[in-house]
């Protein structure tokens, strides 16, 4: 066999979700990323998250730009909508899609290059806009697709594969999002699905822009000794500040599952985000404190992970624009575009 395909057979004991689908029904094409790429793990975590949330694949839209990370939308939920946009321009296209059809579940997959270099402006404004989107930033500190140059998230002093150190200070997407008013800011690690999956689920339930920065090691160009985004370095330096569990609306919170819970937050849709524990003195609902903590952790050389900041009320584009609750695609053409007479009448108001 010269190319690889995943055999269609599956384990007969696979669980089904409320839609009667197994996890494998949420899979996509076979990945062509390097073997061992962190992105494939993130893909797998997304599959689990969507499956566990009982989201029908055809009611979701996968948005992406350009890069290794942006390829991954092909590798899950083959029955979903998708748009592979120009480099760094995914937030604009996602905004358009969301404006037209607010009833879909949107997930945007981007990388450190797509988000923090060419698409930095797009990212900033999508956050400000409150675009309802789970924005997964697969962060590996290098431009993998062009063979491993430093990206804008590379830490000072971390080295490239051939040894030269990075001198430019990094952009931290978590700090960026906090400073721009994001209402859901998280960081996780592709190698820790126990932490990542509940965060993704909470992000999908969030009423607004949900940024999840996922350290996702590049096995080919940034998994070496001098890297600060390798599997080993991340495992050694990650500090779980605020790991969560996500409990959907329809599931009861049992006394047992609530045991040891640091705090519970009820989301906009009635589901619950339960902080399994939070670092002593840490408050994930205090934006300034979260900013300060993440900043200090960085100075200590530690990577703060978990759902670092959450404003459960969210901030959402359609609400601030006061658009109709019916998705625009479902509004009859006659009312969506009421014709010349209506336009003239509107124009008259501004005279």
């Amino acid at each position: 066999m010269t190319s690889i395909a995943k055999p269609p057979v599956r384990h007969p004991g696979l669980q089904k979700n409320a839609l009667g689908l197994t996890r494998r029904d949420y899979e996509g094409a076979m990945s062509t990323l390097c073997a061992g790429c962190g992105h494939d793990s993130v893909t797998s975590a997304l599959i689990t998250a969507f499956w566990e949330m009982d989201i029908p694949p055809h009611r979701a839209a996968k948005m992406s730009g350009i890069g290794c990370s942006s390829k991954t939308t092909a590798y899950f939920m083959r029955q979903s909508h998708g748009f592979n946009a120009v480099h760094g321009r995914m937030p604009s296209v996602a905004t358009g899609a969301n404006a037209a059809n607010r009833s879909l579940t949107y997930v945007g997959i981007s990388g450190d290059g797509d988000s923090l270099s060419i698409g930095l402006g797009q990212l900033c404004h999508a956050i400000r806009r409150g675009l309802r989107l789970l924005y997964v930033l697969e962060n590996n500190g290098v431009y993998g697709l062009t063979k491993g140059q430093f990206s804008a998230s590379a830490d000072v002093g971390s080295t490239a594969k051939r040894g030269e150190p990075n001198l430019q200070p990094p952009i931290d997407p978590v700090l960026l999002a906090l400073s721009l008013g994001a209402t859901f800011v998280a960081r996780s690690f592709s190698g820790d699905k126990d932490e990542l999956i509940p965060i993704l689920k909470a992000g999908l339930a969030h009423n607004g822009f949900a940024l999840v920065d996922v350290i996702s090691p590049c096995v080919s160009f940034n998994d070496h000794e001098g890297s600060t985004k390798s599997y080993r370095y991340t495992r050694e330096h990650a500090e779980e500040v605020a790991p969560v569990d996500f409990i959907p609306l329809r599931r009861e919170i049992t006394a047992q599952s609530a045991e040891g819970t640091a705090m519970s937050v009820t989301m906009h849709d009635g589901s619950t985000v339960r902080f399994r524990r939070v670092k002593e003195g840490y408050d994930p609902t205090d934006r300034d404190a979260a900013y300060a903590y993440v900043r200090h952790a960085q100075e200590r050389g530690e990577i703060a992970t978990g759902l670092l900041y959450l404003d459960e009320r969210g901030f959402e584009m359609h609400a601030s624009n006061r658009t109709v609750s019916t998705p625009l695609v479902d509004v009859p053409f006659a009312s969506l575009c009421p014709g010349r007479a209506a336009l003239d009448e509107l124009m008259e108001e501004f005279r």
Partner: protein, 604 residues
């Protein structure tokens, strides 16, 4: 769990379900791959190494490998292992020159084999190349035992039997046909260094119900009747035939009756179908020939009129399960089924009237010899049993397995080594990686359904007794069937210290075999894997602690497709697909010593 010790040949052997289930441990996946490559001769020789009679077994084996086949747990029916074996036998080149050579100079040891069935022939096959002088005593005029006189020629053509039996006899066996051993005591005085009893279970069981002896010419014992058909003593049977019993002998009897003039043939069973002893495929073949299977009827008496058998009376039974789970029957009614002939096929027994009971060979209360399961030795040193003679009726492949073990014992006995000293098994394990996405086996999963065997037309089938029913696989059928094999001998081999815990293997596995998790005991681990590991007959593999998080890699072997995707997606080659070869010892040939058979055979 402690880390799994994969350097013990048993662990990976058990993963190869077919090979593990086969009494002779034939390397099934490897011979199927050889067939796939068109290397029929090599495939045949590899088969012959363990099972000695590939052509015969490719038609008649009871196939313990097939119910064990992992394929049937994954999707569809098992691989048609048995019929693929026949493909190798049908299409091989001349192999005589490639069989083990027999030295001209003998080692001075003489061995007597009693009965020329599969177990004795296997002993001869293993001992002749070592220089033993082997004498074979057989009551019939030709060798083969049950394979010749009890298996009808429409299932096993005489030419196939002659060929494979011939390979052994031609090694220079001193075959004494028409020479039944009538006294073990006398034989033991003839100076043999060892005696092997492979005389089978030659006595058909009797059904002692009223009327049994009223019309003896119409009531037959199955295996005796089949032998009489073979020798030409019986050439016809009545129109309406009842076969009592529903084992594989019953199947041979009913189908033979069909060819000797029977038109209304019923096989009558006491129990219902799930409890039948006959293999499902033999039942299917019989029904295809118009044989009727009657369930839940217990024989009550033979009905004769004026000395002529006209019917048989049965009690129709209903089976219920009582509180303790035991099955109990109750009689609903008595029915008579008209019959011109009845064949009793309710089992076979051993009979050793020729073994004196005072010569140190102990028998139990059932009249069975006391034989050691490991060494095949009786209570008298130097006297060994195998095949049906040892523990009652089994099947050919068991007889072969017994023969190999007995040959090791006989060799030990003759060389002054304790018979309990069994040479250990060995193994080789070699990577099958050939390059990027390239493995030295066909790892692409084929969703094809099991290929069914083409049968001769019913009309031609009944014209002559010896028309072979199964036509064998043609090239297309073979090509399709070989791809269904999952190559379970290509093992997923894990090297824990290379793992970076990237999850790639866990994520890609199509059947959720893999989990990286905290260690625990096996019962606990089985409940918290990627998919529940509920098949307790299948092992869990547990790795040593992984370097970064001290968790372990766990693999549930149950449904692994051996597709190699874990190794394919592993960035550090912690997973590798390695070809496992079980090395079995044979008499005078320790495991791992060079094979006496050239595997890369090129016929001259």
């Amino acid at each position: 769990m402690q880390p799994t010790n994969v350097s013990d040949p048993k662990y990976y052997h058990r993963v190869v379900d077919c090979q593990w289930a086969c009494p002779a441990h034939t390397n099934v996946p490897e011979y199927i791959r050889l067939i796939a490559q068109g290397r029929y001769t090599e495939s045949y020789l590899l088969n012959r190494e363990t099972n000695v009679f590939p052509g015969i077994l490719g038609r008649t084996c009871d196939r313990p490998c097939e119910p064990a086949c992992r394929r049937s747990r994954v999707e569809g029916k098992p691989v048609a292992i048995c019929r693929l074996k026949r493909v190798a036998a049908d299409h091989k080149d001349e192999v005589q020159a490639m069989l083990p050579a027999v030295p001209a100079k003998k080692n001075g040891k003489r061995v007597a084999l009693i009965g020329a069935g599969p177990s004795s022939l296997t002993v001869a096959n293993d001992l002749m190349p070592l220089g033993y002088e082997v004498s074979l005593f057989e009551k019939h005029e030709r060798a083969g035992g049950l394979m010749r006189v009890n298996i009808p020629s429409f299932r096993l053509p005489e030419s196939v039997l002659d060929e494979e039996v011939g390979y052994i006899l031609n090694m220079g066996v001193d075959a004494r046909f028409g020479t039944p051993v009538e006294s073990m005591r006398r034989l033991l005085t003839e100076g043999f260094d060892a005696v092997f009893v492979g005389s089978g279970a030659p006595k058909g069981k009797e059904l002692d119900v009223p009327g049994r002896w009223d019309a003896p010419s119409q009531i037959h014992i199955g295996i005796e009747w089949l032998a009489n058909v073979h020798f030409g003593h019986v050439e016809s049977i009545g129109k309406r035939v009842l076969i009592i019993g529903v084992g594989n002998t019953a199947m041979d009897c009913c189908r033979t009756s069909r060819r000797l003039g029977g038109t209304d043939i019923k096989v009558v069973a006491r129990r219902s179908r799930p409890y039948f002893k006959a293999s499902p495929w033999e039942l299917e073949d019989a029904e295809e020939e118009g044989v009727q299977i009657v369930e839940n009827h217990a024989p009550k008496r033979f009905v004769t009129e004026n000395g002529v058998l006209v019917a048989m009376e049965f009690e129709r039974l209903e089976w219920t399960t009582d509180a303790s789970g035991k099955q109990r029957s109750s009689v609903i009614e008595t029915v008579a089924i008209p019959a011109d002939a009845v064949i009793l096929a309710i089992g076979q027994e051993n009979a050793f009237p020729w073994i004196e009971r005072d010569i140190g060979i102990d028998f139990d209360q059932q009249g069975m010899p006391k034989v050691d399961r490991g060494t095949m030795q009786s209570s008298r040193p130097g006297v060994f049993f195998g095949g049906d003679a040892a523990w009652g009726p089994e099947n050919i492949i068991w007889a072969v397995a017994h023969g190999h073990e007995a040959a090791i014992s006989i060799h030990n006995h003759c060389q002054g080594i304790p018979v309990e000293d069994r040479p250990p098994q060995g193994m080789t394990l070699a990577s099958s990686k050939m390059g990027m996405h390239a493995w030295s086996y066909s790892n692409d999963y084929s969703p094809a359904a099991r290929t069914s065997m083409t049968h001769a037309e019913l009309s031609t089938r009944f014209s002559t007794l010896s028309v072979e029913v199964e036509l064998g696989f043609d090239a297309e059928q073979t090509a399709r069937e070989v791809e269904r094999c999952l190559n379970c001998d290509i093992q997923t081999h894990f090297t824990a210290n290379l793992c970076i815990e990237c999850d790639a293997c866990v994520d890609v596995c199509p059947v959720n075999c893999l989990t990286i998790t905290a260690n625990g005991d096996e019962v606990d681990l089985r409940t918290r894997l990627s998919a529940p590991a509920e098949n307790l007959t299948q092992a869990l593999y547990a790795s040593a602690e992984l370097p970064q998080t001290s968790r372990i890699m766990v693999k549930d072997e149950d449904l692994c497709l051996h597709c190699g995707l874990c190794a394919e997606r592993c960035p550090t080659a912690a997973w590798d697909m390695r070809r496992f070869d079980l090395l079995q010892p044979y008499a005078g040939r320790p495991a791992g010593s060079a094979r006496s058979l050239p595997l890369a055979a090129v016929s001259a």
